[in-house]
Structures are given as structure tokens and as C-alpha cells.
Symmetry: C2
Subunit: 493 residues, 2 copies
């Protein structure tokens, strides 16, 4: 794609200036249209070292209102701290909220091409990163994002000239890094790698625009024109529904909720003995996963008053408090609602060796958001696959994902609700909303069945906790966790 790049004829200097002024004004107007239409815009700048990305960026934002755009300058290589999370994490936490521009002065390209150049990725790893990038770009677009990708292209000679000029000037010589020189020396090899990457990630939902960057004014004009066209199209396409992608991940067999016997029980003594035993085991395993740098995600979902809190408490009490975090998930905050619905979970991912426990999760999308109409039908139907993809991004680099569904029957819920209402110190736990949700039990049950069938991937299956007897449920939760952590540590021992 890059080797054959067809430069458009460069206009005269005067014309560039005239058109650039017009496009800058148009972009300022488009900034307000974007704001009104609530479209989040992600602008990605990639390209050769010294191709002029920074200079162009300064001109592109010239007339923009600084309250509604920002620039993410990510280092090409992740820090030690960033490496402790999935490869896309440090980018995902930076995605813009609706109505805002975010400029990425370099994004995830370098973590594919740079690594490929240094032979740090084998073919399978290369393909896996390309898949991750295509997946996340598709998800962003499907969820209303405009993703505009620019590649700043200059020739080998031009790059060398610019690096020499920068080096010669004592005020700028610090900007020329060893990597830049290396890139220029191996220009041909980089040309192939960049070309391959552009081809592999050039999708009609988020196409690449190659910018002829020999002249900075001309480069700026090209970026502005593509940006304004892209925004026009995105605004015109508001409310567009995406096709549903079929799940591509292996699924485990799971029973319908109605077919789960709920008569399982544990006697108090048995409970106490098991609790003690499992607590010890968990504490040891927590040390071990910290040592082996394995991140762990526990996701709890279940009926109101099913006993999620109690189970979480018993697990948390077994862990070293420096190494876990419990996230109670309520309705999203405004700044969370303004982004991709999985953003607030990307934002809470544990680093390696740590445990994140979610009390309610991203599955809200296909339960409460579905049933209360907080998202469109297309949104929640698409979400099963998006969630499987999200969990795959976690498991792929080595995380353990444990998903618990805490199950009770309708009578048990009624008894617990009544108990909560009649016990002063438990009254805070019961609200009008709980009673309203209870009325929709059947609708919820159908949605939950669909959810556990469609998202029980073999790498992150649902575990059912039969919780009419809370003792039984808590012990089962801990036992599953012990087994999973033990298995995850196995290969390292």
C-alpha cells in the first residue's frame, strides 16, 4: 500500500494557504457539530520519524476550542508499569468521550511494526495483534466513534535530510533519537513493515489515509481535508446500525437457569472447616499469582439479594489487601456514559499479579441496559460478541477471568427481601427498584439465559453458584477460584 502510494499533485503555495484557511475554519465549525451530534472523534497520527506529525498537529488544532479536544502523547514503547496490562490497555483508557476530539500522536502501530522490526513478534503474535487492533477499531466504530487514521510518509532522503538538520542545530539535536537513525538506515525494511501493517488494518470502517509529507503545509491541508470529509460522513451516518458479527470463540455447554437444582446445602460445621481450608489456600495462591505476575478478574453477577456481597467478602478476606481491589458497579457516571460502554472496565483492569473483583459488571449491557431500553436493540445484540472479544483480550496475554452467576429462586428472593425490610440494619440494602426488578423476573430470566449461553466461552465460562444456601455458594465460589488459580500457576512451577 505504501510502496505504490500515489501522491496527489501538490497545489501552489498560495492555493495551499487559501484552502488551509478555509479547512481550518471548517474544522472549527465541525468541532461544534461533533459536539452537538455527540460523536467522539479519535484521530491517529502515525508515520516516519521526523515526518512532521507535531508541526501538522499544531496547525490542525489552530482554530479549535481547547475545551473540547485533547492530545494523547504516548511513548512508543510501553513503560514497565503499562506492560502489566493488556497491550491495548494504555490506549483504551485514553479514548475520547462523545463530542470531543482526541489526537493520538502515535498510537498502537509502533507496538506492531517496531516489535516486528526488532523480531520481537513471531507470525502468530503479529497476527494476534493485528486481530486485536482490527477488533477494537471495529468496536469503536460500531459504538459511534469516528476513527481517522493518518500515516505521514516521507522518502528516505527527505528523512535523512531532516534528521541531519535537527542534529546540526543545538536547540533540536536532542530530538533525534537513536531509533530515528536506525529507521533511516533500515528504511526499506520499515517500508515493507509499514506497508504490510497499513494493508492489514485498512478497513472500510476505519480506513488509512497516507499523507504525502514532503511539504508541511501540503501535509496539513491533506489532513484537514480528510478530517472534514470524515466528520461530514460520520455526522450523516449517526444512528447507523452495525451488522451482528457471529461469535468466533469456542463456547462451553451451560444449562438453562430453570434446570439448575437449588437444593444444595452445607452444614455450618462443614462450612466453617471448608472456609478455613480454602482461605489458607487462597492466601497462598494470591502470593503465588503475584510472584508469577498473573492478573485475575472476578466478575460477580446475580439476582438481587442472591448473596454476591457475602461471597465477595469471603474471597476478599482471604487475599492480601495490597493486591486486590473490589469495584462495586452502579449506573455509569456521565463521563463513563460518554464513552464506549466497556471503557470503565478497561479503566479498572488489574495489573499483573493483582486481583480485581467486580460486584456487577459489563454484563449490565445485556441485562439492565437491554431490558430498560438504555441502549438500542442493535447495541445489546452486538454486545455478546463484543464482550467475548473483550474477555479474550484479557485471557490472551494470560489473565484469569472468573465469572460467577449467583442463582436463587423467586421464593428465596422474596424471603430475603422481606427479611431486609424488617431488619433495621439491613434496610439500606432494599429499595423500590429491587421490587420493580423483581416484577420483571421472567424477562430477566430469559435475558440471563441468553447471556450465559452466548458468553460462556471456554476461556471464560460462567460458573453458577447455587445460592439458596449461602454457605454452599460461598464455598463453591472459593473452590472454583482456588482451582482456577492453581491451574494458572501450574505451568510456572
Amino acid at each position: 500500500m505504501l510502496r505504490n502510494f500515489a501522491k496527489a499533485p501538490k497545489p501552489e503555495k498560495q492555493e495551499i494557504k487559501r484552502r488551509m484557511n478555509a479547512e481550518q475554519a471548517k474544522l472549527a465549525a465541525n468541532q461544534m457539530r461533533i459536539k452537538d451530534a455527540k460523536v467522539p472523534v479519535m484521530v491517529i497520527f502515525e508515520g516516519w520519524g521526523a515526518a512532521g506529525k507535531g508541526t501538522v498537529l499544531a496547525k490542525v488544532i489552530k482554530d479549535l476550542d481547547p475545551r473540547f479536544f485533547s492530545v494523547a502523547t504516548l511513548d512508543e514503547k510501553p513503560t514497565k508499569e503499562e506492560r502489566r496490562r493488556p497491550f491495548l490497555w494504555r490506549y483504551m483508557v485514553e479514548i475520547p468521550e462523545e463530542g470531543q476530539f482526541k489526537f493520538f500522536d502515535t498510537c498502537w502501530l509502533e507496538e506492531v511494526v517496531g516489535c516486528a522490526f526488532r523480531n520481537e513478534l513471531n507470525d502468530r503474535e503479529y497476527d494476534s495483534r493485528i486481530d486485536s487492533i482490527n477488533t477494537i477499531e471495529r468496536q469503536l466504530v460500531d459504538n459511534g466513534y469516528l476513527v481517522m487514521k493518518f500515516f505521514f510518509h516521507i522518502s528516505k532522503e527527505e528523512q535523512r535530510k531532516r534528521l541531519d538538520a535537527l542534529s546540526a542545530n543545538p536547540n533540536t539535536s536532542w530530538r533525534v533519537k537513536k531509533d530515528d537513525r536506525e529507521q533511516n538506515e533500515h528504511y526499506e525494511r520499515y517500508l515493507d513493515l509499514y506497508g504490510r501493517y497499513l494493508r492489514d488494518t485498512n478497513r472500510s470502517s476505519a480506513p488509512w489515509y497516507i499523507i504525502d509529507s514532503q511539504d508541511r503545509g501540503w501535509a496539513t491541508l491533506q489532513v484537514l481535508e480528510f478530517l472534514n470529509t470524515g466528520i461530514d460522513i460520520a455526522i450523516r451516518n449517526r444512528g447507523f446500525s452495525s451488522h451482528l458479527m457471529q461469535n468466533v470463540f469456542p463456547l462451553a455447554q451451560v444449562p438453562d437457569l430453570a434446570d439448575i437444582p437449588l437444593d444444595k446445602k452445607l452444614e455450618p460445621e462443614e462450612y466453617k472447616a471448608e472456609l478455613k481450608r480454602l482461605r489458607l489456600k487462597l492466601r497462598m495462591l494470591h502470593n503465588e499469582i503475584y510472584h508469577w505476575k498473573i492478573p485475575v478478574i472476578c466478575a460477580f453477577e446475580g439476582w438481587d439479594a442472591a448473596g454476591k456481597g457475602g461471597a465477595i467478602k469471603r474471597i476478599a478476606a482471604s487475599l492480601d489487601p495490597r493486591g486486590y481491589h473490589v469495584y462495586p458497579i452502579a449506573s455509569p457516571e456521565p463521563h463513563e456514559k460518554a464513552r464506549h460502554y466497556l471503557w470503565r472496565f478497561w479503566n479498572r483492569l488489574p495489573k499483573t499479579g493483582h486481583v480485581a473483583i467486580f460486584d456487577r459488571t459489563w454484563y449490565g449491557r445485556v441485562m439492565v441496559e437491554r431490558l430498560e431500553g438504555f441502549c438500542s436493540e442493535n447495541d445489546w445484540m452486538r454486545a455478546y460478541n463484543e464482550i467475548n472479544e473483550f474477555e479474550h483480550e484479557l485471557v490472551e496475554p494470560g489473565a484469569v477471568v472468573l465469572k460467577y452467576w449467583v442463582q436463587i429462586d423467586k421464593d428465596t428472593q422474596l424471603a430475603r427481601f422481606t427479611d431486609r425490610q424488617n431488619t433495621p440494619e439491613k434496610q439500606w440494602k432494599i429499595t423500590e427498584e429491587d421490587w420493580r426488578n423483581r416484577e420483571k423476573w421472567d424477562l430477566y430470566e430469559a435475558a440471563i439465559n441468553e447471556m450465559i449461553h452466548k458468553t460462556s466461552t471456554t476461556f471464560a465460562p460462567w460458573h453458577i453458584l447455587e445460592s439458596n444456601d449461602k454457605y454452599y455458594a460461598r464455598i463453591k465460589a472459593m473452590r472454583i477460584m482456588v482451582e482456577a488459580l492453581d491451574k494458572a500457576c501450574e505451568p510456572y512451577r
Copy 2:
């Protein structure tokens, strides 16, 4: 994608029947919605031999109005005659018109997977076919088509059982072909090849749906449900604009029309001598391209009264009448307008060894259709790249594409118009429309400059014929053709 395929749980027989009836009725209603919304629907059935594609198809169309759907049953392997045109040709001529369903009982998959199985494609050829397929599917979707792709999946054991049952019955044994048995024997290898193909062509604009086909009723229900969902989404998305893909092909440098000197001339004697010489040359080369099986496409565009007809006449007169066809291109007929705008040109492609001469061409999209508002801005802006892709599909398998722009100045046009008006036998050549178009000269000139800059690919550049002097233009046209055909024959000699 296929190896990990996650079967959805199969409902009870009674429920399948109930849901199937509902979906069949819904599809019948959707057929009318599709008709009203003028969406063309292309349904592609692919999958294992004996997977039940035919049976399912019969049930899917059960309640449909036969006036508004049809079935294309293409042989898995192209005939000798079909091989004489680009690989996608035999499919493209079959695409549905707007408001109609077309079912492809197998489409282009087999020409990739089957060929790969028989080691008839090297890696480069495999990639090139995948690119062609992704490109054409994207073009169809961008131009308003709904493309629904189903892969019918059965296990090795099930396939063998079905083939055995078919063989055992004398009424059906003829249906089991050698290829089916071979596929079953090499099931694992096919599984990999199919899986790779599905992954390579699984795009959000036209995703794959894998159909668990162990049970025919269940398979039918899955197809119906996906189809109805897909149609809902397509109708909701009517009027959606696509992002512009940047040209990926190498471009040649071409001058602006204003910079072309038009004072070139030929004296009558020189003209006659050259005409005679070039005629002979062309006749010989026409024989040769027939012998070497090279298809040739000549495309003429130019101002009204520029002399296209005269140049075409001189070329045609040099060719063997059995081996060429001249296509005068006017406004599209209703059945042409109802399809992808390039369809009527796909439909007129020459077979190998033949010459097709187009008097006006597919470039109408970015000239008259653009300026008269016959298509949307997004449509004509997208068309430059679509046209480059189209011509690449012709050149890639070996065709010669010659594009002529016949250039005159405004005064010369006026003189010729006046002459036509004043000469009784030429009056049919001049209409009110010609005068109206002349008034838009400047708008046309800007559009033409953009067109020749954006579509002068190195493999199919524009040739400018300076035609203030018609002798000069005709001779230049023939000389360019002689040179191009000579060069194309060179490697075979």
C-alpha cells in the same frame, strides 16, 4: 473461525417449527420492504458438500414471491468460456437488481478454497483473490447492496453418513461426486482452508454466518433468523454514506487540460500514409492478441464533437470484425440503473483475444452523473477508487486497458457544433443537450482534471488525444494502441 465454531443450543423440534413459520412469514414481509426500499439482496450459500444447502434454500424461499427473487446456480469450476474473463466476471453478471433477492448456491469461495486445496494457487495468487473478493464485497455494500454470507457446517462423520446414504439410493447416487468423497477424505485439510477463508473475508460490512447444519430444520431457522435481522439492519441503514478509501494504486503524472498544447497537426498526405501503415500493424497485432489470448479494452471519453466517433471508426476498420465489439454508452437502461453502476461494464467485458471499444464509459459516474446530481457526492467521490479497483481487476489477469481523453478547445467545439447544425446529414449529431453541456464547460473541465489525475494509474493511464486536428488525434490513438498491443504480446513471442 470454523474449528472453534460455537454451536448455539438447538431448540426442540416443535419450537423450531413454530419459529420457522414465523420467520418465513417475516421474510415474505421483508421481501416487500426490500422492494419498497429498493435494496438489492445478495444471499450467498457456501459450505461442505451434502451439508443441505439445497434443502434449506427450498425452505427459505417457500413463502417468497417468485417474481422478485431468483437463484444463481453456478458450477464450482468455471467453464472454458468463463475462464476467458476475469475471475469475478461470472459472478458479477449475476448480481441482483434493486429490490430483488438473488440466492447464490455457491459463489466465489470455491475458486479460492478448491484451488488452494489442489495447490493451484501460490500465496501471492491466494492473497490476490482474497483482495479481489474483499474489494468487490465492499463495493457492493458501499453501493447499497446487502450481502449475506452463510457457511453450512457439518462434521466429518455426518458428511460421510450423508454421502453413504445418497450413494446407497439409486435415485440419488448420481449426486455424489468424486470431489465430495475427496473432500470427506481430506476433511481436516478442508477445515483449515475453509476456516482461513472465512477469517480472511469476515468483514463487518459483510460478515460470515456459520450455520450448524446437522439438522436441516434447525439450519433453515438459523438462516431465516440471520436473514431477517440483516434485512432489518440494511433497511434501517438506507442512505448511509461510506468512508472514502484512499487510492492504493500507483499513479502516473498527467497534465491539467489547460496545459495541453492543441496546435498539433498532420498534413493530409502524412495522415494517409500513417493511417495505412498503422492499419496494417493493427490488423497483424489483432491476430496476435487473439493467438495469445489477450483481452483488450479501449475506452473513449472526450468533449462533445471532439472526434471520438472518427477515431473509433479508424481503429475498428483495422480490426477483424469477428474479434471486436463497439459499445456506444448512453444513459443506463432501467435494469442497468437498478444495479451497481459498474455492472453494465462488467457485463460487456471482452473475452480473451477480443477487443471491446467503449464510446463513453464508466467515467460517466465522475462526469455527467456528478455534475447533473444523478448520484450523491459520496457516490462520485468514492468512484475514483472503485474505478481504479475495477480496472485493476481487468489488468491483473492480463488485459490491456487503453483510456483516451479526446481533447479540443472551446472554440473548436463551437465551430463543429455550428457546422453540424448547418449540415443536414450531420444534424442528428447535435442536440439541445449538447448546447446545455457546453454552458457547463468550466464545471466539466474541473471534474475532468480531477478524474484524469485520480484515475491515471500506471497500469491504465489516460492518453490525451489533441483533437483540434482530427487527423492528428486519430493517428495518435492508433499509434498508442499499436505500441500497447505490441508491448503486451512481447513476453509471449
